[in-house]
Symmetry: C2
Subunit: 303 residues, 2 copies
């Protein structure tokens, strides 16, 4: 429901010159006199983003910050600080909170994030964690969803699909990779894959007012996607998992052709980066599979 | 439980030169090169901070931002922006979200707050609202809890107690009043009364490493405190409600004597400001009532 709701909300928000980039992207850019501060917030809830009964709180804490850092990475912003708000169940709330921070703080340290505040509450409901993170753009500015042009190549880091088997909790946000690419190459647009490739590609092309063609045989399918396809009998292929599963938290980038070629040839990152398709003039998304071109429907997770 | 938990957390947070003021105050001050950004987060939950079944969502939305603006007021910071994270119950979640923003946005407009982002989720639990707000300090810097000295007079805006009868939802944050006092007078310390006078006074004196004496006959008892004392048979007097009830969201300030005298004499605000006591050398809190001096125990709300 978020997409529809954001549309509604956008119409109700007054124009504000300080809001350089408002709703509709991975994070907000806030113009403080002479300084841009990138802000993002993600709220995670028990039963949706994790299951408290099944998972160590440390992994929940890690994920709570990691998803925010992934948003900053999608903007090519350098993480600076975060604040953490918790609604804790009454039973063993303190142990839970301690565990959460034990998972969150090492990640914060690794990415130079100062945890500068928070709000810790107890209530009769299940666990809710809301992290707001702040970043600084590089000297090249921020990377938005809206800059892709027809002809741009679509690149994706890592492998996709099946994160539900565990990786969605232990994700490593692509912060360093985004900063490295931003400093060394010309990038047109970027998004992190939180809702699934087919859905997030729709967000990117929608904001950029272009379309996209994806080549099925170039999509980097993860081992987890194969495992999931084998173990479940819903008929979903590994490719479908790679296209539609949420929470990969990899980067999807739109890059001019000659830059894309340089990136793919030199493979400058510590993770593989694949060219999976390109942007086209006509709005819409298509999948080329076995020589056949058919519409690609957003099949990912809608919040 | 928050106090204990913050203590635990404080010991675990590495020193960070960018965190000018970290946990333990109403808001965090974040040093961006050459610019300070004041950040505060408050998470409100159904059954604790409001009851969805009994209250229009507009009032919940208003309160969610107002409590954050009250924190900024306590720091004498000028509100700039906010991000809003929601966990909505599945049933009528959209209507609820719309109502929340209908209450929140007019308040944001009134105080020049740009709502620059958010995260809207649906889940099987009750409503949770988490707002992170940003402010800018005045040219005189921020007002902290830790600057009070022995001899300072303790001033409080408005009247206290009984906010549970309705005012806790419709609070008007003391933003303009704080900015006005900060620009025209020398203030030593400040806090907003969210947990109750006796508890928040403890926070202020604790951070300032001083004590305080309060004069019972000078505490501005609200009409609601009297109504509550009359209607309930728990034996609490109106004064007890004024001392211990949470969510007044008035300002408590520590001010040098000569400045306090100027403020009290000229009454520069659109709300009455009362002198209720003073800071003393010895740590601890006392209430002088009917000529008798007895210890004042923190009786307010602990999150």
């Amino acid at each position: 429901m978020e997409t529809k709701f954001i549309k509604w909300l956008r119409q109700r928000l007054p124009e504000d010159s300080r809001s350089v980039l408002g709703l509709g992207d991975d994070a907000a850019v806030l113009r403080l006199v002479g300084e841009d501060c990138v802000v993002t917030v993600d709220m995670l809830t028990d039963g949706v983003d994790f299951v408290v009964a099944d998972v160590e709180p440390q992994r929940i804490g890690h994920k709570s910050l990691a998803v925010n850092l992934s948003d900053l990475a999608a903007m090519a912003a350098r993480p600076v600080a975060a604040v953490v708000a918790l609604a804790l169940p009454r039973e063993e709330g303190r142990e839970l909170a301690v565990g959460l921070y034990e998972g969150l703080l090492p990640l914060a340290k690794r990415y130079g994030v100062a945890v500068v505040g928070g709000d810790t509450n107890t209530w009769d409901g299940p666990l809710v964690v809301s992290v707001t993170a702040f970043g600084r753009p590089t000297s090249r500015g921020v990377l938005t969803r809206g800059g892709a042009r027809a002809g741009d190549r679509l690149l994706v880091t890592g492998t996709l699909g099946g994160s539900i088997l565990g990786r969605h909790l232990d994700i490593e946000p692509r912060v360093d990779q985004a900063l490295q690419l931003m400093s060394e190459y010309e990038l047109h647009a970027g998004i992190d894959l939180s809702d699934g490739l087919s859905t997030d590609l729709g967000h990117l092309t929608g904001e950029s007012r272009c379309g996209a063609v994806i080549y099925a045989d170039r999509v980097p399918v993860s081992d987890a996607a194969c495992t999931l396809a084998e173990s479940s009998d819903d008929g979903h292929t590994p490719l479908q998992h790679a296209l539609d599963d949420g929470e990969d938290f990899e980067l999807l980038l739109a890059v001019p052709p000659e830059e894309a070629e340089r990136i793919i040839r030199s493979q400058p990152l510590d993770v593989h980066i694949s060219e999976i398709g390109q942007c086209v003039d006509v709005e819409g998304m298509w999948l080329v599979d076995d020589g056949e071109r058919r519409p690609l429907e957003p099949g990912g997770y809608e919040h």
